[in-house]
Amino acid sequence: MAKVRNWQLGREMDYPYEENRPGRQVSMLFDLNKCIACQSCTMACKTTWTAGKGQETIFWNNVESKPYGFYPLAWDVKVLALLGEQAQPWSGNKYNGTTIFEDLGMNQRIKGYLPDEMDYAHPNLGEDECLKILDGEGDYIKGPTHKNWGFFFPRICNHCTFPGCLAACPRKAIYKRQEDGIVLIDASRCRGYRECVAACPYKKSFYNDTTRTGEKCISCYPKVEAGLMTQCVTQCIGKIRLFGFKTADYDKINSKQVRENNPIDFLVHVRKIALPIYPQFGTEPSNMYLPPVHVNPDFLSQVFGPGVENSIKQYRNAGKDKELLAALLLFGVTERICDTFKLEGNETVGYDPQGKEIVRVPLTEPVYIRQVKNLKTGAFLTNNS
């Protein structure tokens, strides 16, 4: 086991391979306050990549309803249980518990579990049960009820800096691309051991029944290589997602020498408003979430780590914070990857890597007041007359 530096944990941790960060890292940001679980992203991914034979229960992208919706069944509570029954302890920004790579049992390479085949058969089973709309008969979840809160949780492969799948593969058939940090399975070399399925704590590596090989999100790399965002981002009707590249160099992250004019770096490293998903797993996931403001803070802290309070405070203030608003308004406005952005007066402008403007969005939409009545014809133009 080598020692690697994980900025999300604020400490070094064990990993089977040496630290080897890509030149830049693909990253996706999700504004969870805006997700309505329409599953447009799920279907965009499904119809593009996983509609073939053997992929019936594979969803590289899924949206689950938290706290009780899961895909596969109970994935996160099972992995949390592997890390320890007690809550994973943080002191400030330092994680004091163990990751999936640490405190291993005798025959383990990584802490993980292989889901049952039926765990994939019922995506999001139990999603509405915290609401107790039904009287409890036939509920999947039995437990204490709580006040009505919940949120929709879109998830894809996190293209982690320290991927559990890559570390687990006995054949080294999984690799992380140096040019963009995308993690891929070599389908011609895979022998279907499903060690990656068992090892990925996010359960985003899948098994194809027809080919008997592992399959996972490829971050739409043909699109990314052409400077475009992925299918799940561009098809999102709620405009909750932003795709781009962020700084991967640990020293730059640690000394805050990140690119402030890059929208991803700005939201992740400068403002720290976008938070990693289950950072305590230790894989340093690249996808980041803006936590929902109305959800139980204890639950949010367990999922997104110690930065939740700061993130929600900033998000609630975003209307007055023009710089932050400028970055947030880039979500869902273009299919092309924004390399940099700039606040110009009342507009936010996105640029491609060559510095060419690709999108311009007003911070405040102009207001048009329509006449109640067309004075010439006498026709009503609004319905509130």
């Binding site: 509609a51 049992g105 025959n107 049952d116 765990d119 687990a168 895979c190 060690e195 027809t210 008997r212």
Partner: protein, 372 residues
Amino acid sequence: MMKKLLIAASLLMIPVATPAFASDAHGPAKDLTIPIVAVDNPGQYGGHPFHGSFKRLPPVRLDGGETYNVGVIKSKAVKGEIPMDPLNRTWHQEDPVRETSYNQYNQSWEQAPATIWNDASATEVPMGPQNLVMPGLVVATVPMVKIKSVHNDKDIAFLLTWYDSTKSETETMEDKFSDAIAIMFPVKAGSEPSFMMGDDENPVHIVYWKAAWERDIEFGYQDVRDAYPNYNYDMYPEVIPAIGQTIDTPIRRYNEGQRQYIAAFKLRNISRVDPERLTPVEELNAVGFGTLTRQATNNATGNGVRRFGYWSVVIKRPLNSGDVQDSVLTPGSKTMMAIAAWDGRNRNDGAGGNRGPRKNYSNGGWIPLEIE
């Protein structure tokens, strides 16, 4: 008359349902139904899921083998073609109802016709859990493999027999793994590669048998419909433009364009997806852990059958195939071989069944092989 029939049936141990009209004036008739005991039920032999030695087996005669070698595998020279059947199939019909020493014709196993394996001496190879590289096993899941070998002037064959309480022969579900066995030889004659799948200077030659491939050959390539007979799926995009195809169209009939949707198939990963498989074995080379690679040309053949909870697998390969990646075995010489075995159903290891490095290997690594 009815009573006589039922008694006859019970003597033959055929499961029968008692018909309602069979009851007489003395009360309801006794339930003469014979409980069906699954062959796969663990604990058949002395309550142990595994056994320590074939010498203490219940009287089930699989292949003779009364002569045992210790610490060495001896290959016996025979004349003529080596048959692929590990057992005489017509004689050894597996009978889930009766686990007795009688076959369907009420004849003793002692009268079973001899096979080519009867006179070959056997070697019991104790197996250990692979725990040198993680992930591994804590305890052995296949503690013992019995091996016999015969050869003619062209081919050499190995009969591997081991007890496995569970028959695992599908890989078409997320959490199911197949039973498997593999034998390994040094590629270069006289070299001593690491028994951990060889090393950089000394490659090894591996012949690998898998139960799932046996099933693929017998019933056709196992696909989603075989694993989930009642599932429904609207339509696969790859079969929409093809007239006459449905969701049940086997992938072997897909053209190159349609195979685009089955990534590993398109990339010809035929270790995993081979709908036209002819043999349940494949040949591989390795130069250490994680380097296992399938050979371009496969000369070995195999055949496995399951009887009374035992797998009996014949692996046959040419003594000298002419393939530079294969090991050359010469009659009258001494070399060495190693064995690895997987119990696909065993979950002692905590993350599914045995596969890949979660395996058992012959204790001590290499075993001397003397070719007569």
